[in-house]
Symmetry: C2
Subunit: 576 residues, 2 copies
Amino acid sequence: MAATVTIASGATWQEVAADRQKYRDATLAAIKPSIPDIPSPSLNTISIAKDILTKEEIKITESKVEELAPQLAQGELSAVTVVEAFLRRAALAQKLTNCITELLPSRALERAKYLDDYLKTNGKPVGPLHGIPISVKEHIGMKDLDNNAGFIGWVGNIAPQDAYILQIFWNAGAVFHARTTQPQTLMHLETSSNLYGSVERNQERLYRLTDRRVTTNPYNSLLTSGGSSGGEGALVGFKGSCLGIGTDIGGSIRSPAANCGVYGMKPTALRLPVLGLLGPAGGQEQIVATIGPLSTSLEGCKLFIKTLLDAKPWLKEPTLMPFPWKQEDFFKGKKLKVGVLWDDEVVKPHPPVTRALKQMVDKLKSTGNVEIVEWKPYKHDLAWEIIANLYFCDGGKEESDLIDVSGEPWRPLSKHILKSRHVETHTIPSMYKATIKRDAYRVEYAEHWNSTATSAGPNGELEGAVDVILSPAGPGVAPKIDTAKWWGYLSQWNVLNYPALIFPVDKVDVVKDGGTQSHSPRNETDKENWELWQKYGAEGYKDAPISLQLVGRGFEDEKVIQAFEIIQKETGVPFV
Amino acid sequence: MAATVTIASGATWQEVAADRQKYRDATLAAIKPSIPDIPSPSLNTISIAKDILTKEEIKITESKVEELAPQLAQGELSAVTVVEAFLRRAALAQKLTNCITELLPSRALERAKYLDDYLKTNGKPVGPLHGIPISVKEHIGMKDLDNNAGFIGWVGNIAPQDAYILQIFWNAGAVFHARTTQPQTLMHLETSSNLYGSVERNQERLYRLTDRRVTTNPYNSLLTSGGSSGGEGALVGFKGSCLGIGTDIGGSIRSPAANCGVYGMKPTALRLPVLGLLGPAGGQEQIVATIGPLSTSLEGCKLFIKTLLDAKPWLKEPTLMPFPWKQEDFFKGKKLKVGVLWDDEVVKPHPPVTRALKQMVDKLKSTGNVEIVEWKPYKHDLAWEIIANLYFCDGGKEESDLIDVSGEPWRPLSKHILKSRHVETHTIPSMYKATIKRDAYRVEYAEHWNSTATSAGPNGELEGAVDVILSPAGPGVAPKIDTAKWWGYLSQWNVLNYPALIFPVDKVDVVKDGGTQSHSPRNETDKENWELWQKYGAEGYKDAPISLQLVGRGFEDEKVIQAFEIIQKETGVPFV
C-alpha cells in the first residue's frame, strides 16, 4: 500500500521512517502463529530458527529450490504450506537482522491458494517456479506498493505495475512473500538507511555501540550483511527465502551473497529484464546495472536465469540482447583452465580469504583434472577510477538532492561513494572522454585475457586461453559496519561487464585464521583494510562465511556456471 | 602517406584541399593503361565503361563476389588480373562521379601478387575473400595513410594501424584497392565536402549550375550518390568495386546503396567491428554507429558479414555482442509475413517509390506464398526528434569546431543537421532524460511490433507476428544535390537499432512515373519534398535507381537476409 505519511504531505523524515516501520511491523504482526520475542541475544543467529520454528517449517525452509520445485509441481507439498513456513522464517529473520521492508502474507497466501487449486484442477503446475517463494529487493516495483529505493524523499511513490521480471516469474508460478532492505542511494556494499529501523531490542544490545539503522549479518550480528541487496543477503542467508532478486552495478548482488554464505550471480548486463525498477541515474548507460539471483543453491540461480531467458524478454525490453539460455556443453573433451587471482594488487585480502582460495587451489591441483594458472591483475586501480567516475556523471547531484530533499542524514557510506575523489561533474565532452577511456580499458583487458592463449589462429581461435577467473569476492569477509569501502574485487567485473558467480567455501575460524601477518600498505585503502584485520583479527569476524567468485568473459554466463559445476565436483566445495 | 600540407603546418584550407586532390590524382595517374579523357559528357555514365575498358576488364568488374571468389580460389582468375581491372574501372569512376580519395595501386598489386604466389605454393586460398578487391570509406583507418573523416582540419592525421575490420578482411585474403569519399562531418545523406574536388571537366559541364564539390550519381550526374558512404555508393554503383565498406548511424550505408542501385546492409549495431575508425563524437553511445557492406550482390553482403563474425571479433572488441552467424532456417515450415510500410506519415514518398513498392506487393500477393499486411508507422516524427537530438549531445560543438578550425566553409547539409531545431547542448541530467525517452520509444515500438502477433503465449511466444517490414528507402529516389533532408525512412531503424537491407527494384521511368499528383503538405519537410517532385518530375530523376528496404528486429540480421531471399525468389526482383 502507498504511504500517506510522506515528505510531500508535510511529514519530517523521522515521521516518514517511523510510519514505514510501523507499516512493516503490521505486516509482520499478520504472520500466524506470531514469532515470540527472542529470549537472549546471539552473535550468530542462525541456530535460533530451530528454537522458534516447527520441525516441518525447518525442513521446508532448509530445502533448496530444486528440492521444493518437484514436490510442489507434484502436489506433495502445498504452496500454502511452503509459503507459510518461509513467511514465519522471514519474520524471524527481520527480528534478527533487520532485512525486511514488508512481508506480503495476504498476497502470498492468496497466490499460494490459487496455485494449489490450479494444480488440483489442471493436474499440472503453472510453470517451472510453481509455488516457489521469491523475495524481492524493495526498489523492484510491485503493483500498488510503495517504491522508494531507500530514499525517504521517495516514500509515497507507488509502482503502477509489477516490474517486468516479476511478471515473468508470476507467469512461471512464483509466490512473492517478502520485500527486502537496501541502503540509502543503493550505492553501498552494506545496507544502511534511515528508513528501515532496527532489529529487536534484545538483539540490539549486542551491537549497541554501532549504528542501528543497518541490516546485519545472520552469522555475526556485528558484521554487515553486505549491500546493496543486503536485505536479500541476510534473508536468504537465514533461509527466510530460498530465492531472491537482487541488483548489481558494483557488487550489490555479490557482496551480500558472499557475506551471508549463499550463491549469488551477477549475470552479464543486458541479458535479464530491468524494466520497472526504481533508482536514481536513469538514462545513465555508461555502466549498466544488472538484475540477478541470490539463492541457497546454485540450481536456484540457474532456474532464475533460465526462466527469465525462456520468456524471451528482449521482445518486450529491446535493450536486452536476444541470447537464449545456452545449452551447449562448454567443456566437452576439453580441460577447464582456471586463472587464479590471489590479490588485485590494490588492496590485499585478509588472511581467511587467501586461506580459502589456497584450499580451493590445492584441491584442484591435487586432482589434476583442472588446469590452474596464475591470473595477473591488469590495472584494477584504473578500473576503479573509471567506474567510480562514470557512476555519477552529474557529480552525484541527483542522488545528493534525493537525500537532501527530506533532510534525512547522509549515511557514512553514501558520503564515501558520492564524495569520492573520482566523482566529477561532467560536461558532455568530458563524459564522452571518460567513456572512451572505459572502452580502451575494456579492449586492453580483453587483450590481457587473449594473451593467455597458447595459440591464436587467424580467425579468432584462442586455443588454451583461460576459461574462468577464480577470485576473492572482496578484500575480506563480511565487514564491520560502515567499513566496506573497497569495491574493486566486485566492481572490476562491472566495468568489464563480465558475469560473476559467488559461492560459499568456508567460514572464519579463530584457530586457522588466528595469528598475525605483517603487510606494508600500498595505499590508504589498503592500509585501512589491513588495519581492520590487525584490530579485530579472526575473533572479530568469527563465523563469517568465506566466499569466492568465479568470473567469465562477457555473455559467458552459462560457461561460468558449468565451470563452477566442475570445480564443485572436483573440490566438494563448500567445505563447511 | 600522411599529408604534409596541413592546417597545422600553416596552410589555408584551400591549399590543404588542393594538395589532397593532387595526391589523389597522382594515385590515379599511376593506373596503367591510363584512363583517357571522356569524349563527351553523359547524364547517365554507366555505359561509358564499355567505351573505355577492355572486354576482359568489363567481364571481371561486372562479375559478382560469388562469381569471382571461386575462380580466384581455384586460380582460374589471378588476383592481379582482377585488381587491375577494378583499379581501372575505379579510376574511371572517379572521373565521372568524384568518388575516390585515393587509389591504392602499389599496395593492391603487391598484395595481389602475394595472393597469387600463395595459391601457387600452397594449393589453397588464404581465406574466403582470397583476391576479392574491397573499397574502403576514408574514415576507416588504413596504416600509414591520411585519415581525415572529411574535415580539412584533420588532414595530416595518420592512422597508426589498419582498422580492425581491415585486419580481419586481410586475414581472409582481401585486396584493398580504393579509398572513397565522404561528406564534411560524415553526417549528410549526400557526399559534399571541401576536400575532394570535382570530376573531369567535360563531365562538369553537365552540372555546372550546382556545386562541384560533391560525389555524383553514376546513373544521373545531376543527382547525389547519397551519403555519407557516397563514395562507396558511386563506386560500387559504377562497378569500380564489387564490395565496399561503409558506415551508418542514420542511413549512411543505405542512402548511397539505394541511390546507386546496389545492395547495402546496415547490420544491427554492436555486431561488427568498428575499432580504428576516425570520427567525431567518440564516446557518444546514445546512438551507436555500425559498419556494413555495399555490394553488387546480396551474396557479397552476406560474405562480408559472415567473414567478420567468423573471426569472433567480440574477443578483441568487447563492446561487440558475441553472436555468431546464425545458420538456423528461420522460415522452415513457416510462411513469411511481411508488413508493408507505404508512407511514414511524416514525409510522403515520391511516386516512383510508391510504384515500385506496389509492384513488389502485387507480385508477392499474386503468388500467395508470402503473407502481406499493412505496417502502421508508430510516431516516426518522434523517432526523428529523438535521434537528431542524441547525435550531438554537446550541441554539435565538436563537429562545428572541427569545421571552423580550418576556416573551410560549411557545406549546406552540415548546417541542415548540426543547426537542426532538435539539437541542444545537453547537460548530463538532460542527456539522461533524452536517453530515457529513447528507451521508452524503443519499448513502445517493440510493443507495436508484438501487437501484430495473432496469439501470444505466456512465455514470450509471438505466433503470427510480422517477420520483416518492407519499406521505402527514402522519400524519393536519389535526390538533387543538397536536397536530401529527410532521414526518417533510414534513421528510424537506427533509433531502434534494427537491421535493414537495401535492394534495387527498378528505375525511374519518364513514362511510368510521369503525370502529376496532388498532395496536401503535412509539414515543412513534407512540403519541400513534394515540391521537388512537382518541380523536376520523372524527367528530373531520369534513370535513377529505385530501391527498397527490408527491416527486421534487433539482431535478426540473418532472418532479414533469408526473408529477402524468399522475396527475391517470389518476385524476381530487381525488375531491371
